[in-house]
C-alpha cells in the first residue's frame, strides 16, 4: 500500500474541518476523493502534503509516518501535488516554472555558479511535451489562460518525479473540452508512467468514468471508499448528495 491515511483530524478554532478521515491508495491506482463543497477535501490534501499539521491520526506513505513533516520534505519523499487555486510562479516563463521543480528534484536548487539556462533542459522539455505545453515554453506563466495554468500546475508536480501525484481539483474552472482533455491526460499519465494518482473533483460523472476507487467525504468524515459501483449504490452517499450537493 502506497498511502494510508488513518483517522486523521484537523480543527480550526472550534470547527472540525476534517474528522476521522480514512483513505488508502495502492501503487499504480487512480483514486478519487469526492464530496460536497466544504467536505474537507482540500484540507485533507493539505494534511497529506504538509501544508497543515494534523491534530490526530497518521499519514503513512510507503511505510513511513509523514504526518506533520514540512512540505518540502514530503515532496522529497515522493509526493507531489497541484493546487486547487492556480499557484504558479507568475513572473517566470512556463519553462522556468517546471525547471525549478526539476532542479529541486535533482538537488541542484542551491547550485550557485552554473547557468540555469543549460541545466535540466531535456527533462523539462519532456515534461512540457507530455502535458502539451511545449509550444508555450517561453511564455510568461502569468499570461497563460486559466486552463493552461492548471496544466502547468500539473507539469510542475511532474517535475518532482513523484511516486504519488496528488491533484486538487485539476479541472476547476476549465471548459468542457479542456476538462475532457485533462482527464485523458491524467489517464495517460497513470498508464504510461505508472504514476499513482490521487485527485479530487467536483464533476461526478468524470470521476466515475475515470477512477478505479472513490472515497467520499462529507462534513470532514469519510463515508466510504470503494469501487464506483459500490459507492454509487451506497445509501449514505446518496443522502449526503441529495442533501446538499450534486446528485450522482
Amino acid at each position: 500500500m502506497m498511502l494510508q491515511v488513518q483517522a486523521v483530524g484537523k480543527s480550526f478554532g472550534g470547527f472540525k474541518a476534517v474528522n476521522e478521515a480514512n483513505l488508502t491508495v495502492e501503487k499504480g491506482e487512480l483514486v478519487a476523493v469526492i464530496g460536497p463543497n466544504g467536505a474537507g477535501k482540500t484540507t485533507l490534501f493539505n494534511l497529506i502534503t504538509g501544508q497543515l499539521k494534523p491534530d490526530a491520526g497518521r499519514v503513512i506513505f510507503k511505510g513511513e509516518d509523514i504526518a506533520g513533516l514540512p512540505p518540502h520534505q514530503i515532496c522529497k519523499k515522493g509526493i507531489a501535488r497541484s493546487f486547487q487555486i492556480v499557484n504558479v510562479f507568475s513572473r517566470l516563463t512556463v519553462f522556468e516554472n517546471v525547471q525549478v521543480a526539476v532542479l529541486s528534484q535533482q538537488r541542484r536548487s542551491t547550485n550557485l555558479f552554473s547557468p540555469a539556462r543549460n541545466l535540466a533542459v531535456n527533462e523539462t522539455n519532456n515534461i512540457l511535451k507530455s502535458v502539451g505545453l511545449l509550444d508555450k515554453a517561453e511564455a510568461t506563466s502569468g499570461s497563460l489562460s486559466h486552463g493552461d495554468q492548471k496544466i502547468l500546475e500539473m507539469a510542475m508536480a511532474l517535475g518532482s518525479e513523484p511516486k504519488l501525484l496528488i491533484l486538487d481539483e485539476p479541472t476547476a474552472g476549465m471548459s468542457p473540452e479542456e476538462t475532457l482533455a485533462t482527464m485523458e491526460l491524467i489517464k495517460r499519465l497513470a498508464s504510461t508512467q505508472g504514476l499513482t494518482i490521487l485527485f479530487c473533483e467536483h464533476d461526478i460523472e468524470l470521476v466515475f468514468s475515470v477512477a478505479q476507487r472513490i472515497m467520499v467525504m462529507h462534513q470532514g468524515r469519510t463515508l466510504i471508499q470503494g469501487k464506483p459501483d459500490e459507492v454509487r449504490s451506497n445509501k449514505e452517499v446518496q443522502d449526503a448528495y441529495l442533501g446538499g450537493g450534486e446528485c450522482c
Binding site: 518540502h72 504558479v88 517566470l92 536548487s109 511564455a139 510542475m156 517535475g159
Partner: protein
C-alpha cells in the same frame, strides 16, 4: 561556464562602458572621480539589497546595517590593530555576512512586514551600541583618517580599486542570479508555498541568499572606507537603508542593473543638488512620491517594458 549566459552583443557595450570608466580619471576633474567612486560603492550596496529584495522578495528594511558593519570592521581593524590591510578588507564582508546569518536565523522564519520589523529593531540595536560606545567606536564622531596602503590612498587609486571590485562583484552576482539558485530564489519570491511543495527548503534558501547579499554589502562598506577614509554612525542608521531601498525602486527592482542606475541617480542628485540647496532630502522625497504614484516599476523597468512591447518577439528572461 559563461557560454549562453552573456550574449556577445550585450558584452560589446558593457566592455565599452568599462573601457570608458577606465580612462575617465585622466580626463575629468578629480571631484567627479570622487563622485564616481562613491557611485560604485553605493551601486554595490544597492545591488546587494536587490538580491534579496527584488529577486528574493524579502522586506529587507535595514540592509544598510551590513554596509555600516563592514565599514566599521575595516576601520576598527585598520586603526586599532596592526594587522595587514588585506585582512581588514577580508574581515569586513565576513563580519557583515556573519551578522547577516545571525539576523537571518532570527528573522527568516517570519513573513513580510514582521521580517522587516525585527530586522529594523536588530539593526537599530547595532546602531545604538555603536553610537554610544564612544571609547571603542568613536561614538557620534566616528573614526577618521583611516590609514590605507599608498596604492589606495590616492584618489585615482581608490577609484580603480572600487571600480574593479564592484565590477567583479556585479559579475558574480549576475552569475548567481542566472544560476539554479537564483531561479529558485525568484520562484520563492513569486510563490513560497509552491516552492516548498516542489521540494525547496525555502528557509534555507532565503538564509543563503541573505548571507550572500550581506557579504556583498560588507564589501561595499570596505569600498566606502577606501574612498572616504572615515566611518560614522549614520552608516548604520536606518535612514541610509531607506535611501538604498529608494535606489532600488528608482532604478527598477525587477531588473538586474536597475539598482545601479538608481544608485547613480541618487548619488548624483545628492551631490549636485546639495551644491545648490540644503534641501536635497526634499527633492529625494518628491522624486520618490512621483515614482510611487506614476512609475512604480522604476526607470529601468519602464524602459524594459517599453522595449518588450516595442519588439514583438517573445519576452526574454530577465
Amino acid at each position: 561556464m559563461f557560454k549562453g549566459v552573456i550574449s556577445l552583443k550585450s558584452l560589446w557595450w558593457q566592455m565599452a562602458i568599462l573601457a570608458v570608466l577606465l580612462i575617465l580619471p585622466f580626463t575629468i576633474p578629480t571631484f567627479y572621480v570622487y563622485v564616481l567612486s562613491l557611485i560604485f560603492t553605493t551601486a554595490l550596496l544597492a545591488m546587494s539589497l536587490n538580491l534579496v529584495l527584488g529577486y528574493g522578495g524579502l522586506f529587507q528594511f535595514h540592509h544598510g546595517v551590513f554596509y555600516g558593519v563592514g565599514a566599521y570592521t575595516v576601520a576598527l581593524m585598520l586603526t586599532k590593530t596592526s594587522l595587514p590591510t588585506w585582512i581588514g578588507f577580508v574581515a569586513g564582508p565576513i563580519v557583515a555576512a556573519v551578522l547577516g546569518l545571525v539576523m537571518g536565523l532570527l528573522c527568516v522564519r517570519l513573513t513580510r512586514i514582521y521580517y522587516g520589523m525585527l530586522q529594523l529593531s536588530l539593526g537599530s540595536l547595532v546602531w545604538a551600541i555603536v553610537f554610544r560606545w564612544y571609547d571603542f567606536t568613536g561614538g557620534d564622531d566616528g573614526i577618521h583618517g583611516i590609514p590605507l596602503p599608498s596604492a589606495l590612498s590616492s584618489l585615482n587609486g581608490s577609484y580603480y580599486f572600487a571600480l574593479i571590485i564592484t565590477a567583479i562583484c556585479l559579475i558574480v552576482m549576475y552569475l548567481i542570479v542566472k544560476s539554479p539558485f537564483g531561479g529558485t530564489l525568484q520562484a520563492i519570491r513569486d510563490n513560497p508555498v509552491r516552492c516548498a511543495a516542489v521540494g525547496v527548503n525555502v528557509r534555507r534558501h532565503r538564509l543563503i541568499a541573505l548571507v550572500i547579499a550581506t557579504f556583498f554589502a560588507g564589501v561595499g562598506g570596505v569600498l566606502f572606507v577606501t574612498v572616504e577614509r572615515s566611518v560614522f554612525p549614520d552608516l548604520l542608521f536606518w535612514a541610509l537603508s531607506l535611501e538604498v531601498l529608494i535606489m532600488c525602486l528608482l532604478g527598477g527592482w525587477f531588473t538586474f542593473m536597475g539598482p545601479v542606475l538608481g544608485a547613480a541617480i541618487v548619488v548624483l542628485l545628492r551631490t549636485f543638488v546639495g551644491i545648490y540647496t540644503e534641501y536635497w532630502t526634499l527633492i529625494l522625497g518628491a522624486t520618490l512620491l512621483l515614482l510611487v504614484m506614476f512609475l512604480p516599476q522604476g526607470v529601468m523597468g519602464y524602459f524594459q517594458e517599453k522595449f518588450k512591447r516595442g519588439s514583438k518577439a517573445t519576452a526574454g528572461r530577465t
